[in-house]
């Protein structure tokens, strides 16, 4: 390699100058930041936000999480919060039972689109309509990542998956389900928003959504849901670096970011969070 490159800074150790650490490698509520998800996967980014918000709200010792089945399941062993591993699709009901027995705890689910919008679609709708005081967190990448990238019920039109290599075609494959929009007409719902982890600004905005959702739960306002669009370069069959752009152009088109229900009231479609 060329010897005249003196411009690269040392990033191995702590800085030697006087400085303040403003961001840590991994969230405190992670036992280990080393995981096996693919390069460029959006899920760990979303999980960071979730854990940071719990920590920041002071609920680290008062939270119970219910984890669905998908790639994020690998984090069940890594997240340092009391957890219940649910079966594929069943997390909202499990969270319901736990919340009823522990009404003082923050109850959240962590599910994928395959988990929530395919296998267990009615679980989340029933839980929402019941006004159950739980927060469902959806990692929506529009594919079954774990099984190898098949089309799900949220796959955007035109999106590439293993079962729609030419892109999802409405006539052949049907239409995607905009799950956040679906919950809007339900009475028991206090907060619904859709974020993304495609870029740092979205990440920050998504974190605020998670915070609002949990705050709604703490205030006893009813059901809340935060949908987070995440990259799955593996299931989309694209280079990792193309993930965020593909997310915005393809998934983001169908599943627009923004808050949909705030304080139990629907807000304008696609309104910014």
């Amino acid at each position: 390699m060329s010897s005249d490159r003196l411009d690269v800074l040392d990033t191995h150790g702590r800085p030697t100058r006087v400085s303040t650490r403003v961001g840590e490698f991994e969230p405190k509520l992670l036992l280990d930041g080393e995981h096996d998800l693919c390069p460029g996967c959006g899920e760990p980014v979303a999980i960071r936000l979730l854990l940071e918000v719990i920590e920041e709200l002071g609920y680290a010792q008062d939270s119970i999480g219910v984890i669905g089945i998908g790639c994020y399941t690998a984090f069940t062993g890594l997240i340092d919060v009391d957890l219940i591993q649910a079966l594929h699709g069943r997390a909202p009901s499990v969270a319901t039972g736990a919340k009823r027995m522990r009404p003082d705890k923050l109850l959240f689910t962590l599910q994928g689109d395959g988990d929530m919008v395919n296998e267990g679609l009615q679980e989340v709708i029933h839980t929402a309509a019941r006004g159950e005081s739980v927060t469902c967190v959806l990692l929506n990448n529009g594919v079954f990542g774990e099984t190898g990238g098949h089309m799900t019920a949220t796959t955007a039109l035109g999106q590439r998956t293993k079962t729609s290599l030419e892109g999802r075609d409405a006539d052949y494959h049907g239409y995607p389900i905009p799950i956040a929009e679906l919950l809007v007409p339900l009475g028991g719902v206090s907060y619904v928003a859709r974020g993304s982890v495609a870029d740092a600004k979205s990440v920050v905005r998504t974190k605020a959504m998670l915070r609002k959702a949990f705050e709604a739960q703490i205030a006893g306002e009813g059901f809340s849901l935060v949908e987070i669009l995440t990259m799955c370069p593996t299931g989309w069959f694209i280079p990792t670096a193309d993930g965020p752009g593909y997310l915005d152009e393809v998934l983001g088109e169908v599943h627009a970011a923004g808050e949909l229900v705030v304080g139990g009231k629907p807000v304008g479609k696609g309104a910014s969070g």
């Binding site: 280990d32 719990i54 219910v66 062993g77 957890l83 039972g97 679980e123």
Partner: protein, 358 residues
């Protein structure tokens, strides 16, 4: 001691609540519906929760969540509804949660379902089949106790008759004292590095990977221990019996009645009843069958328990089925077989060593 008149479904719910059950979720289905209704009446009064879930699968999911927090909790249904719950019934066993299931069956056709499971993989539930309402009360209390003890599901396998017959019952059990469950999630250990994880797939905290083999083998050892220690059985007049009649649940009540009648007439017939269907009381049954010339199994289905009876006596004495499918027009199982005269006829034929066609 005063006895209160209660329908089976009410007695079961009352016994469960007395045993500390604080959560129930279910979906209506005859003949289980009244069990759900009675939990709905009784739980709120003691600060418990009963949810009329939107489906059976959601019902068992909710119960799973309640159990994970350490609460005594139950669900139930009929065979159809339990069929829908099979994935959860299997995995909840692997998650080692002390579930109690109230199964009010339509007839006795669900013996395989109850004892072999329809879920995937190697798992077992303790299954109690009460003969009457009083025994249902006892076994309900026992079910919660054994479920906690083994951290394994226990099923109470009843039927229309059990759920709908009223009897005078007494509740004598000591008041329930909640036991601490250090494995349960209460949220308190987040951030401590020792947070808990109720997990059906053997994933341990602090590890990215799982080791299903050792996990499943551990469960097998537990199931072997249960098998060796939890079998329950009753028998009568087996000493000099030439024919031993085996039956379970409500049907056994008819059989016992007829056997007593025949005994009082000097016929050499004995009666045996597995109270636990799993573990199946194979040894006790084999002992009861010793010396008889024939074992007759009277179950209200095409022949399911007969497998376990044969596996118990292993060819040492011939085993015949003298029951059969029998149903009323609604399919709830109170068919023409449930008649002591019919049953007497079947047993007499067996006594006379005749071929009985069902």
């Amino acid at each position: 001691m005063t006895r209160t008149l209660m329908e089976g479904s009410e007695a079961i719910a009352t016994a469960a609540v007395a045993a500390g059950c604080r959560f129930f979720a279910g979906y209506p289905m005859t003949p289980f519906t009244e069990v759900l209704e009675n939990f709905g009446k009784r739980l709120p009064a003691v600060g418990g929760v009963c949810i009329n879930a939107e489906s059976e699968i959601e019902a068992i999911g909710m119960t799973w969540g309640a159990l994970a927090t350490g609460a005594r909790a139950a669900t139930g249904s009929t065979g159809q509804g339990l069929a829908l719950m099979q994935e959860s019934l299997s995995e909840i066993t692997r998650a080692e949660l002390p579930l109690v299931v109230f199964h009010m069956a339509r007839g006795q056709g669900d013996y395989y379902q109850a004892t072999r499971g329809g879920g995937h993989g190697d798992y077992r539930h303790i299954v109690y089949a009460p003969i009457d309402v009083r025994e249902a009360v006892e076994l309900t209390e026992l079910a919660f106790d054994r479920a906690d003890h083994w951290r394994n599901p226990v099923q109470i396998y009843g039927d229309y008759l059990l759920a709908h017959t009223s009897e005078g019952v007494e509740f004598t059990a000591d008041p329930f004292v909640p036991v601490a469950k250090d494995w349960a999630v209460d949220g308190s250990l987040g951030g401590s590095g020792r947070s808990r994880n109720i997990n059906p797939i053997g994933m341990q905290k602090g590890s990215k990977s799982i080791d299903p083999e050792s996990f499943w083998k551990r469960l097998q050892v537990k199931h072997d221990q249960i098998e060796a220690s939890e079998a329950r059985f009753e028998s009568e007049s087996t000493e000099d019996a030439e024919l031993l009649v085996v039956a379970f649940g409500s049907v056994a009540r008819f059989v016992r009645h007829v056997v007593r009648e025949l005994r009082s007439e000097g016929r050499k017939v004995g009666y045996a009843r597995p109270i636990s269907l799993w573990p199946f009381p194979a040894e006790a049954l084999a002992a009861a069958a010793r010396g008889t010339q024939r074992v007759a199994v009277l179950e209200q289905n095409a022949g399911q328990m007969i497998d376990d009876v044969r596996l118990s006596v292993l060819g040492s004495v011939p085993v015949v089925g003298i029951g059969g499918i029998s149903s009323d027009s609604a399919g709830f199982g109170m068919g023409p077989l449930l008649d002591t005269r019919v049953i007497r006829g079947r047993i007499e034929s067996a006594l006379e060593n005749l071929e009985v066609s069902t």
